[in-house]
Symmetry: C2
Subunit: 170 residues, 2 copies
């Protein structure tokens, strides 16, 4: 799939078939995630792959946004690792966001669909996820991307807004 | 270009030909940016397109990271707009990061190359950019993506790290 078609047609998918995501696809999603740009290439990230029904059901209880996990065959919690950060401290949020988006784009290219659910900066959400999977204090969940084979896919939506573009001056 | 090829081969480009980026490509980059996912679809972003040499030279003075702007024919400052944010306050950083990455991926698909230079949370950097383009206080620069026709493109680099992957528990 062409990158424009992918970017322009991507929508959040929140309802999936009851069918596991093959391991080789999970590997591709993780490879795409780690290929994201990061501040001074610090790559200060960790990934928790959730593919056990009971763990997905447990994380679903941690916040309303995580609730979709009850239907998802796969979750990837994208975390910043404070013990790996370089001089670019604070930019881990952006690095992990880029990794999260690469997972979503790669998923769509594989015929999968997903949704980005939020962790940090809502610390109730982040701590809820961290507790279920037993993260050390230095590892903070930025997002949980839920993925699977879509039951259906929302129609593409054009979000271009001319009034958000300014040339050379505000 | 296939999305995997794009994601897996993308590297930062910091040296460009002295050749403007056509307006229709700029429009495509902006469309890709605004198609990014955002928290509850709040789309709390603004984009400042820099295509005047004197403005690019001015922003280049604001930080070492922005210095590459002296060579770039195009810059896009991706900003969070605090006056548009929804209930998902604080997530604008992630939304604008996703928009920044879409610009880089779309650029590569068009035969262009770019680099993500940092603004927020380094407020010296963010305020430096804001001052040059005259942003209101409610609009905060997250990044400045510099783009052009690459003089050369760094070789792809495999960043996959097995030890960053954990299954169901840390």
């Amino acid at each position: 799939m062409d990158i424009f078609e992918n970017i322009m047609s991507r929508r959040s998918v929140r309802d999936w078939e009851d069918k596991p995501v093959p391991d080789e696809m999970v590997k591709k999603l993780l490879a795409a995630a780690m290929q994201a740009p990061s501040a001074r290439n610090q790559q200060a990230w960790q990934f928790i792959v959730l593919n056990q029904r009971e763990v997905l059901d447990q994380v679903a209880q941690t916040s309303p946004g995580a609730g979709w996990a009850t239907k998802a065959p796969l979750g990837i919690i994208v975390c910043g690792d404070m013990s790996i950060q370089s001089a670019m401290a604070g930019y881990w949020v952006q690095d992990c966001s880029a990794a999260s988006l690469n997972i979503l784009l790669a998923a769509q290219a594989l015929g999968l669909g997903g949704v980005w659910t939020g962790g940090y900066p809502n610390m109730d959400r982040a701590n809820g996820l961290a507790k279920v999977v037993g993260l050390p204090d230095t590892v903070i969940p930025l997002s949980m991307v839920l993925i699977g084979y879509p039951k259906s896919r929302p129609e593409p939506e054009d979000r271009f807004k001319e009034d958000r573009v300014h040339y050379n001056q505000w």
